[in-house]
Amino acid sequence: MAKFRAGVDIGGTFTDIVFLGADGRVLVRKVASTPSDYAKAVMEGLAQGIKDLGLSPQDIGEVGHGFTVATNAILEGKGERTALITTEGFRDVLELARIRTPRLYDLYYQKPPPLVERSLRFEVGERMTFQGEVLKPLDEASLEKVLDRIEASGVKSVAISLLHSYANPIHEERIAEAVKERLPDAILSVSSKLLPEMREYERTSTTVINAYVRPVVAKYLGDLSSELQKTGIRVPLTVMQSNGGLAPVESAIEKPIYCIESGPAAGVVGAYHLGKRLGIENVMTFDMGGTTAKASIIEDGEMLLAPEYEVGGGMSAGHRLLKGGGYILRVPSIDLAEVSSGGGSIAWVDKAGSLQSGPQSAGAVPGPVCYGRGGTEPTVTDANVTLGYLNPEHLLGGGFPLDADAARKALHDKVGIPLGMSDIEAANGVHLLVNSNMARALRAVSTERGRDPRRFTLVAFGGGGPIHAAGLAESLGITKIIIPPSPGVFSAFGLLFADLEHHFVQTHFKTFDQLDFDVANGILDRLREEGRSLLRAEGFDGSRQQVITQLDMKYVGQTSELTLAMPQTRFSLETLEEIGASYGVEHEKTYGYQAADPFQLVNIRVIARGLSEESRVPDRIVPIVAAAAPTSSEREVYFGQVGEWVKTPVVGRPSLKGHIDGPLVIEEYDSTTIVPPGWEASLDSSGDIALEKAG
């Protein structure tokens, strides 16, 4: 009988594995990632955990996986050599992109190299209009020539993206057929199938990314599946998608674009289910690691999806305005804002004598000065050690001692002396400044979207999240924080909580008075049936299928759409009235006004979700702790708002009883929670720490 499920989350430095029992027992394993062959660390960690739990491989009932193979292939230029077939006159659409640069005032900016080089971008004679009429039929002779050249180039992966193919796919379909005839082994990615959505660059880029990473992802997931089989773990491998749902491995191989950057999504999914369990409708997530901090929101119990994101798009604050640094991927993904601030961010003093933090990071190597691995520049982690937030003897249960004196000295030399500040003022300054940088990510998902952050509960995780959560919350007016169990590996939990999910989209660019109900309802039926038949094939019967329909809408002439739930199952006059009304409300909420303008339907979206028979989230999570929890003690901790050192009690999570006023430090295996004066901490029955602002 299957006793445990395993969540495997691969990061740049560590691979986190969480074993979750049906009774809520949890074992955490952190192993060093193996970039030359990621599967190696995964198999090693799984074997370790199975052994430590005294299980046999057959006891593992499911493996949920978040991986970075696709992202790395793109960032390192190691994907499959790919050809692109496009409309005559437009082969440079991919490389021109949106021509904006992601950085202002940078004379040496270079564009990311296109994933398909110019000599492998081929044009065929043909043209559609935006309404799907054939303006110029497909020129078969030009297609033949292109096929000759692709054949001669030896390329195996072929992307097809023609202008307005979302409105009429026949030319793309004919080309796909011709490619298959000529090159039976070619791997095809066709834009009208992957993303029948308006905007040629975004559609082409998405199709090309799919073509570029498909063979790489197929090999990785194929190898991992067979390794699992060999070991005796004969259960379905599921993969986290960037939209927060899981996908079976077969569909991840066919449409890898949905699974690029699956790690960050998993943390938000974890917070989503945590919120559901605790009955919290509005959650802001805060995930702080070594080099970046990420934020997202869950509003009225729903995760927010962004329609697109850029792979490798850089991590500057304000990234929503400065696009172009990466490869655009137009698939719904959890709306994350990211800033390049983390424990490794380096503190420095600029020419006018002002303190700055980042964007340079000491990374994992050499890392902060206190790691004693050769780092010489003071970092945020060094400041946190100096302030007494981190216990030099306790990280990873004492397995990773920190050199507090070295940290303090670096702050003294590089910050304190130039600014004429005491070491502790310098450390406090670095801590506050990095908070203000990270607050930009939190503001990007709240105030930038017209949301008041004070309505949200902050769920903080990642290595550094629980240290900085209270200070950040305070700067945004947030009064409640949850620190989930095992915050350092929280994302891996998300892999186990999520449901299987498939997303479909079709552009149907019509104003309401142009809308033909039969046609629109036909699209609805088709997308829903695609979803249901996939779910059937995966073993979900009708009662366990959840099918959600959404509409992307705007006022005529506006640029960006807002996504709304479709209020009825079919299009009718009454439905349109309801849609219009709810669009107005949503628009007002986001932008502060409603207009009297006509409505424009842009896309129809369907999400098909497979629901499990039993709950995927246990009521209570109980870590199986190898080492004993620290006994209660106390130490000197510096709190900026008090302006002095305070003798502060230190407790382990399990020994937190009742409501305890800050100041307080809560230490556990993979993280430390700081409760400043003015906040109180308590432990709920599920094992979560709740922090509340007093008064």
Binding site: L96, I99, F130, L321, D350, T559
Partner: protein, 593 residues
């Protein structure tokens, strides 16, 4: 200058971060709610926050060209209204002769009050698709006086103590050709300035009014110190440079922009004395915009961590003669002033390329192409406006200029072709790089872009503003200039070459081809790695013929280099051309080939 008493630098940076991100929030609001292609897709707008005295504290990550343009427009508002500035007021200004830029750029300002006390301002400037006047799109080059250019809104109240001034609203509505787009964009501006106000008020709650006011001013002083420290690191001296605008669309006379740039200690002086007189046509940059273009250019030469606020302007002095091209006097037309601003920035870069020869890239290309189409379908007006504008970038000391990327003083986006076709009676029939358009160099200039527009309505008036047909984007350190701009009517049939600035009526099926100028190259073309030249040939970015300018001979199969012939050709070119001039210098297209 020293730190103010009682203020700490960490709180200052925290407040600075917050205000800059608040200005970004305003910008996101504009993008999401705007109606026109030029604002929502081209992103021709900017956002900023000011202190009570009208000094800019923070700009959103928007257009560099607008960095210094908002402050003078606000100064004019404050000067006119003096004490008559009340809570709930919202001010508008688009008058180039009262601090604004050109008529299509409507500036909106909202004063922020706490307990009846004015403590700051928010601003959004947005380029409107149309502003009335004799030509749709508001960018005509062939106006001869400001009165032809459209609706002029001197500093006035769009809202009075929270009440919309309906008279102004209706005047705008009836004076522009596409009121849904223009008023829709104004609504987006209003949302954003209100959003910005909310953000600032939240800071007041956190830091207290007096404290925050002091910090807002301190942020500017700090930026000034940082800017001065950056300038001190530059070499002292005086450098001169002259760049040219082809003509004003009326006569063939070139317009010379003459600059003497002096760096001394921690200040920079830009002296435009000797520049040609103001033009008859409307490509004149008004003086506020000339200054803004100078700031945007110089901002590229200092650390990107320096904020875009009033402190950056203070150590930079710009002087020019009233009545000259860069300081036109009323009633000179200025509708297409963007073109002149780009050339002012080129002139600044040309002088800086001599001051910092190992840092400053060659000129970007582009040709400042602004295209507008206007007409009527079934009695309803349409106006299409886009800037197929400035970029590609010049070759630099470390790498080739990125092909097709925007110039460093602007950061506009292109417009999705599928959106244009769904929105406008136009079809884009071609959009691609132009081979051999980048100037040769050790690091070649970026390639220009071709874009073709076919009209699908029965008829329309097309109006084109462009330049660099005659004077080429200059190379640096021995690099060659980029290729010139072309405007061509119906390339497949009559293939008629059009002037740089024109307005004409077109019919259904007529195709206008716009060919951007390529960017200048950097360094001696003979020093470019032959392999890099071959790679460009394989990518069809440089032709086999074009490779010869680098002294590289490609074999008959087109895929490998003839090493012996290459050596011979390079020797020959080196012998015949004489010593290579390293100074940037503007050359005419007619002097080449």
């Amino acid at each position: 200058m020293t730190e103010r008493q009682g203020l700490d630098p960490i709180t200052r940076n925290i407040i600075k971060n917050y205000l800059e991100s608040a200005a970004d929030t305003m910008a996101v609001t504009v993008v999401r709610t705007a109606r026109s292609l030029v604002v929502r897709d081209n992103m021709d707008f900017s956002t900023a926050i000011f202190n009570a005295e009208g000094d800019q504290v923070a700009q959103g990550l928007t257009l560099p060209f607008h960095m210094g343009a908002m402050q003078p427009a606000l100064a004019a508002v404050r000067e006119y209204f003096v004490d008559d500035i009340k809570p709930g007021d919202i001010f508008a200004n688009n008058d180039p002769y009262e601090g604004a830029s050109h008529l299509p750029d409507i500036f909106l300002f909202k004063p922020i009050f706490v307990n009846e006390l004015l403590m700051g301002w928010t601003c959004v400037i947005a380029h409107q698709t149309d502003i009335g006047g004799r030509v749709a799109g508001g960018n005509a080059c062939d106006n001869t006086e400001i009165y032809q250019e459209g609706l002029r809104l001197p500093p006035l109240k769009l809202y009075e103590e929270g009440e919309l001034n309906k008279a102004v609203w209706r005047i705008i509505e009836k004076n522009v050709r596409v009121p849904d787009k223009v008023l829709g964009d104004i609504m987006a501006q209003l949302s954003a300035i209100r959003q910005g106000e909310k953000e600032v008020l939240r800071l007041v709650a956190d830091h207290g009014l007096e404290n925050l006011k002091n910090y807002m001013t301190d942020i500017i002083d700090y930026t000034e110190r940082l800017t001065r420290a950056e300038i001190e690191d530059l070499p002292n001296g005086t450098w001169e440079f002259t760049d040219y605008v082809d003509d004003d669309g009326f006569s063939d006379d070139p317009i010379a922009i003459k600059l003497k740039l002096t760096i001394e200690a921690d200040e920079i002086l830009l002296d435009f004395t000797g520049t040609s007189p103001q033009a008859k046509g409307s490509i004149n940059p008004n003086f506020a915009f000339t200054k803004s273009a100078c700031y945007a250019a110089l901002k590229n030469l200092t650390s990107p961590t320096v904020s875009a606020n009033a402190g950056f302007f203070r150590p930079i002095k710009v002087i020019a003669e009233p009545g000259s091209y860069v300081y036109p006097q009323h009633p000179a037309p200025v509708a297409a002033r963007g073109l002149g601003g780009f050339r002012v920035a080129h002139t600044v870069f040309g002088a800086m390329a001599q001051a910092l020869p190992d840092k400053v890239p060659a000129a970007w290309g582009g040709g400042e192409i602004g295209a507008s189409y206007g007409g009527y379908i079934d009695g309803k007006a349409f106006v299409f406006l886009e800037f197929n504008n400035d970029g590609p970038r010049g070759g630099g000391p470390y790498a080739d200029g990125p092909d097709g990327a925007t110039a460093p003083v602007t950061n506009q986006s292109n417009t999705p072709i599928e959106s244009i076709e769904a929105d406008q009676p136009l079809r884009i029939t071609r959009y691609e790089y132009v081979a051999d358009s980048g100037g040769a160099g050790k690091f070649r200039g970026g390639l220009g872009v071709i874009r073709e527009y076919e009209l699908t309505a029965d008829e329309a008036t097309v109006q084109i503003r462009s330049d660099r047909h005659k004077f080429l984007p200059w190379g640096a350190q021995g690099g060659s200039p980029g290729s010139q701009t072309h405007s061509i009517l119906n390339p497949a049939t009559e293939n008629r070459e059009l002037p740089s600035k024109f307005m004409m009526d077109v019919k259904k099926g007529d195709v206008y081809r716009s060919v951007q100028a390529g960017a200048g190259g950097y360094g001696d073309p003979l020093e470019r790695e032959p392999e890099a030249v071959l790679k460009d040939v394989l990518l069809e970015k440089v032709t086999v013929e074009g490779a010869r300018e680098y002294g590289v001979v490609v074999m008959g199969d087109g895929t490998s280099i003839d090493a012996a012939a290459t050596k011979e050709l390079r020797d020959k070119i080196g012998r015949e051309r004489g010593p290579l001039s390293l100074e940037p210098k503007v050359v005419r297209a007619s002097e080449i080939r």
